[in-house]
Symmetry: C2
Subunit: 426 residues, 2 copies
């Protein structure tokens, strides 16, 4: 039976989950995987926490040098998060020839080529299933289940916090602020929720997933990003009545004009399989030219789901020593020839507060016409004291034209306010 | 660049799909996988078909010996289907040290241990992603994405033909016969539809999936099987109104009393993620003790989706030579100590035509009470000329008790007919 020694850097929520899975299921891994996996070293400042989890004092490392000089350690699990000291620790581990397993999406989104280069140089493994969509094996699927496919699109609900908030706004009619507060109370959102609600977290994940899907480095800086803080619950309700559900989607499309990647609130049809992915669940929908549509669904976060992904990588790394390296591994971040779409085509939902008078609608639709945007639907939803609210659904149009239209509409005397503008994907 | 030679046994629908993916994407595999994959040999009786697909005459093998003696062939793809000659061809290929990739669920369900034993003896690879749920990487997920988990349950819509039929019965109100005819016209159902509609196909797949999920050999003979031929569209409609959707489910549960495996028409709640899997789509829902719920969704059949799974196996086999063998590989079929549940607990939906008279309901509910089955709901749905129809929903009860109840009900003078009895999973 093969012996595998693991070091865990950071015993926070995920690190604790990994530690408990590895120690409690030691016999299970012997029986089902023919692997004798032991935790040989743990790095955690909070020594009391480590001891309370059952770590032996002699296994608590005081420095990264302690860890990488330990000959019993084959695999280093980095679950500290953030850039430093994680980046240094991962690089030092790889430099010493250890295989690294990490859940660190920010590190991967920002320093993947550098890490890959080092791993390749040292013939060490570098695994990151846990960096995207928690326990759902989406990285394994992209690497080992979809090789026959040119992937046409990837669309995902890849942030559980915002999906919880949007679900509550949709199902309970809560305001954004109330839903955020409840998410914070439940531990789904952090005290400073920016990384989640402004879409940074989803952008990091989409950068990783679309790089794998499209076989080229997609930097998080290539991705258009828009969060959910400006979403009004009324737009969710109006959209719902018109057959649309609002989700924060990560969208990647491989188009003839280049790669189109963005994270933004999106209306999808109520019968889209992603529309019924609720609460803190995540899902990724892929279209491949051979396989057609597939979707993976599950928990995107949490100690055990993320721990499950990390342990899956540990077992995979232990069974194979012919590691994969992505074809875009160079220190500057990739394939310079990759083209990105800057002006994509999309449908829009817009809600306007306008003067309730004759000729107003004609003036408004005239703005769309001038920018060659054709309209699918225009409807008035309310009127009071000379004011009316109208909803406009466009046919697909260029993003730049939609933006210009919104500017011109806002400048009209007859338009009091642009109350909402949300992109639609069908 | 590694050279990989492939032989394809059978150029039917799936074989043709594999051939076209491998030949049309030859450059793509060089670029993305660093593999130079070529089709070196094809075995197909219909020489004209082979030639019309572009196979060179000198690459058409006239016997399995031709194929296995070809030193350029590394991987043999078996897509003939059925037991013979597939079994002999697969064994001969393995005996000659070639890796085998197959989509043959019946062969795997019936002869897996024998095939594994031979593969292990010859250190050859044996891959079967395409045997279950077409292009959806469910085998890879079970083998390489869920290793950290004791899997508690697997529930799947794993037959596209029956899912198409049930979808049409549900959404259009068609009878079983009409839906079957349309499925045959579209090529979703065969002229002799028995393997699909009687649940044999799903039983083979569930045998493979639950063996992997529960780390023990689950023979198709261990699986309770019931098809959809007896389903009345009225029961689908009544169920729908009560919040249930009818699906043919493959169900595997790892319970303290043993493994509970069955294929039967099943009511699931309308908000269950499997309930919105429609038409010929398939989906598998898993619960693991670490990861919680996950679901995979996609096309279960077809030339390109199944071809995608086969090519995925070819690429995986080409990149790794440390093959997996399942822990139950012995020629008699496995772990004798595995316990199976014979009398599982389940809820029931029953529809009865009864005499419309005082005291009848009390007599009927008395039958349930005597067998210790408690009822969740009893409601009358129609009455005419002294006859009434009632629907009964039970709380969870033993299958044996439900069966006995149905027998006793049928024997009552006041019960004219048992119009429907369908199990409910929640």
């Amino acid at each position: 039976m093969k012996k595998v020694g693991v070091a865990i850097l950071g015993l926070g929520v995920v690190g604790g989950g990994v530690y408990s899975i590895l120690t409690e299921k030691s016999e299970f891994f012997k029986k089902t995987q023919n692997l004798d996996i032991t935790v040989e070293s743990v790095m955690e400042k909070n020594v009391d926490r480590a001891l309370s989890l059952g770590v032996k004092r002699e296994n608590i490392a005081s420095s990264i040098e302690d860890v990488i000089s330990n000959p019993n350690v084959d695999i280093v699990v980095e679950v500290i998060g953030g850039i430093e000291p994680s980046r240094t620790f991962v690089l030092k581990s790889l430099m010493s020839g250890k295989t690294v397993v990490t859940s660190n999406k920010e590190l991967f989104a920002k320093f993947w080529p550098e890490l890959e280069e080092m791993a390749k140089k040292m013939n060490a493994g570098l695994f990151f299933e846990a960096s995207c969509v928690g326990g759902v094996p989406i990285i394994r699927t992209l690497q080992d289940g979809m090789q026959a496919n040119v992937i046409e699109s990837i669309k995902g609900i890849i942030n559980g916090t915002t999906n919880y908030i949007l679900t509550k706004m949709t199902e309970e009619g809560w305001s954004y602020e109330d839903a955020l507060k409840e998410a914070q109370r439940l531990g789904y959102a952090e005290f400073n929720p920016t990384a989640d609600v402004e879409g940074f977290d989803a952008t990091y994940k989409l950068s990783i997933l679309s790089s794998l899907a499209f076989n080229t480095k997609v930097s998080f800086e290539n991705i258009y990003r828009e969060g959910i803080t400006g979403i009004d619950k009324d737009d969710i309700a109006y959209g719902k009545a018109m057959g649309y559900t609002l989700k924060l989607l990560g969208i990647g499309k491989n188009t003839p004009n280049g790669i189109d990647v963005r994270v933004h609130p999106t209306f999808i049809r109520n019968d889209n399989p992603l529309a019924s992915v609720n609460d803190s669940f995540n899902a990724v929908h892929l279209v491949g030219d051979s396989v057609g549509e597939i979707m993976l669904y599950g928990r995107g976060a949490g100690a055990l789901p993320t721990g499950s992904a990390i342990v899956s990588d540990i077992v995979f790394a232990s069974k194979h020593d012919d590691y994969y390296y992505t074809p875009f591994k160079n220190s500057t971040g990739g394939n310079k020839e990759t083209k990105f779409v800057s002006d994509y085509k999309v449908k829009y939902y817009m809600r306007l507060s306008v003067a309730d008078a004759a000729g107003v609608l004609s003036k408004i639709t005239g703005v769309f016409a001038k920018l060659s945007i054709s309209l699918k639907e225009v409807k008035q939803i309310s009127a009071e004291e000379g004011k009316a609210e109208i909803i406009i659904i466009t046919h697909p149009c260029y993003e730049s034209a939609a933006k210009k239209t919104l500017e011109k509409l806002a400048a009209l005397d007859e338009v009091y306010e642009i109350k909402g503008s949300i992109r639609i994907e069908e």
